[in-house]
Symmetry: C2
Subunit: 404 residues, 2 copies
């Protein structure tokens, strides 16, 4: 008998009809002779509605109480879905994070799963029950409810799959798999039958929103077989695994991220320690810096540029201006009309000329590259935000266009 | 330093404005130098909305999953109210039933509090925190969430007051205390400054809806000082205690209950064991029978009449008809246009003529009495439903009217 973990997101359970649809998928899996462990998110807009309620009362509520509030959303989902399965005559039990014993560490609203107590779930599986678990939540050392931050339910699902050595962890979403790029931008985008953990990680962190980074990291660490699959249509999705079969193309996909900005620290001294001072200060302020470029400027001064999430710009500028005297710089410039376009592929490192092929596509499309940043399996370029869609189309066409 | 338990019902926390009002009451109590332990119900219509959601998916959902669903309502209330108190700069922590360690026994949806673990709450009180506890819920032996049934949050409050030896347990409601009768029916109804547990119990079970029976029973058992007080106006409420000071009137109030029906089992044998068979069957079907009257009929047969909640009539008729042969009766009659009017007063047993005074008032108002039923501190009469309001006015006037 196989153990299959299935995770359904908020839009998959947004109303009674969708919940019945999800119950149907679970029921089919169970009736096929599998043990089924299900992770659910909060229904549709529930989390946003609860956040609105909180803001009306106190826009600066503590994260502890926000977690207490928001964790009710997933609890409602598991209870309702359990009722749907009961209505189909199937044995089912719903469990919250604390009931399962999902122990967390770290900050409220952004905690990490530390360990999962197996007893309760195992007992219910042994009774042949379908087990529904509230995603996104756990309980910390002092017995408080904590939530796992963005993409938390995906992480819950993978952590449970790892803890129970599941044969498969299926992530059901609105889309039917991972594509070579966003199909809304490039109609010719291709669905990938398989992708490696590393490629999925790079795609996720470069703007593809199918899976959250942390869940893929966890899947990689514990060798969890993942699959991204549609909750609306019954057809094959994309498998995420250690090694993926690749077509003759050397990249897995093209991603676009327009949520970033660039800050240039202009006119810093040409002396050691300047970069350290800048990025140490930003790190202490919990600001995630992405790409860094240090250019040699006029005479004895130079510029340091870096990209960061748009949401962190205000805080970063504040931190740098407050420390202008200790860093010693002339002024800051902020550019937020930029985009990052990336290609990702595990085969890239063994195939020469992949980056050059990307630059050629951009040159042919008359798109200026402002910065370049690479990893072993990724090449990213920073360009004008207005060029982003054209850039994705041009690059995708260069790598995949010829195959249709 | 005094420890005060305060309980606020659903309408007291129905929106942001009401929650801020409740936070104001709690803050005043805390700033006056008291330890404050607060129990909250779910907001306004939250519970009904959740029930509607459940019914849409499965009208016959298990009680376990209903409890899982409904217990989120109180969790939302405590989180939001904690945020309001945080906004006022006060130290506060919210706790669910399982976090407190409110252990329950008995059925889902209608469980009883078995014991309360003192550790977590005591630790928070010792840190000078205001502690907000989700009412209506606990956790049973196997670690499942259970709810306490109707009036559950009142029961949570009294149980916490008993466990922590609170100096006072204040039940905040829409009304400002316990009245000699329903002020909507009798404008001259008087607010009682004090009432005994026994009187409150009789009033509650005879239709007064201020407090739920189980909470008063618990308060009596553990000698908890209760107070019914308005959440909207700051003025004295009604104290519920062992012995109450009484005015020269001998009764505490007049109650009316129109939620009952009467079933007559007509033409049963005049032999021993008939009554046993009837009420044993009803008891096994979990039907609460209130008053019983056995009248001697014609010759060798007789009738047995009893009152019961209207909601149970269908089930009772079904049970009796199914056992018509073993009980041996001629037919059943059901009368649901009836009302029970009661007077309650601890002084009644030592004061002759109280019942007669009630009957006189009804006679003067030309109201027919169908059945009479008494306890040590209560006299109830069964009358036509159409006479109920007049009866309450006439009886109230007889006992309290002369004092204005």
């Amino acid at each position: 008998m196989k153990l299959i973990v299935q995770k359904f997101g908020g839009s998959s359970v947004r109303d009674a009809e969708r919940i019945r649809n999800v119950a149907g998928i679970i029921a089919d899996t169970y009736r096929a002779g599998n043990q089924v462990l299900v992770v659910l998110s909060a229904q549709g807009d529930t989390t946003d509605d609860l956040i609105d309620k909180a803001k009306e009362i106190n826009p600066h509520a503590s994260k502890r109480e926000m977690d207490m509030l928001l964790s009710t959303g997933e609890q409602i989902s598991i209870a309702l879905c359990a009722m749907a399965l009961e209505g189909m005559g199937l044995p089912v039990v719903s469990l919250t994070g604390w009931q399962v014993g999902i122990r967390t560490t770290g900050a409220y609203s952004d905690s990490r799963i530390n360990k999962i107590a197996p007893d309760r779930i195992q007992r219910e599986l042994d009774k042949n029950k379908i087990v529904l678990v509230a995603g996104f939540q756990g309980v910390n050392r002092v017995g408080d409810v904590t939530t796992l931050g963005r993409g938390g339910s995906d992480t819950s699902a993978v952590a449970l799959a790892a803890a129970f050595h599941a044969d498969l962890c299926q992530i059901f979403t609105d889309v039917d798999g991972v594509y070579t790029t966003d199909p809304r931008i490039v109609p010719g985008a291709l669905k990938l039958p398989e992708i490696t953990y590393d490629e999925m990680l790079e795609l996720a962190s470069q703007g593809a929103q199918v899976l959250h980074n942390r869940s893929v990291e966890l899947a990689k660490k514990y060798h969890v077989n993942m699959e991204v699959v549609s909750s609306l249509e019954r057809k094959p999705g994309t498998k995420v695994k250690e090694v993926a079969k690749m077509e003759k193309t050397n990249i897995a996909g093209v991603a676009k991220d327009t949520s970033i900005a660039r800050i240039a620290v202009v006119g810093v001294e040409h002396s050691p320690g300047v970069a350290f001072r800048v990025f140490d200060l930003l790190g202490r302020a919990n600001i995630n810096v992405d790409a860094i470029i240090q250019s040699i400027g006029r005479e004895s001064s130079k510029d340091i540029s870096f990209t960061l999430p748009k949401a962190d710009v205000e805080e970063a500028v504040k931190v740098l201006e407050e420390n202008k005297e200790s860093i010693r710089f002339d002024h800051l410039t902020v550019e937020d009309k930029i985009a990052k376009v990336s290609i990702v592929g595990a085969g890239m490192m063994t195939t020469p000329g992949v980056a050059a092929k990307m630059f050629e596509a951009l040159y042919d499309a008359n798109i200026n590259i402002q910065m370049i940043n690479t990893s072993e399996i990724r090449v990213s370029v920073l360009i004008d935000e207005g060029d982003a869609v054209n850039a994705v189309r041009a690059v995708h066409d260069k790598f995949f266009g010829g195959e249709d």
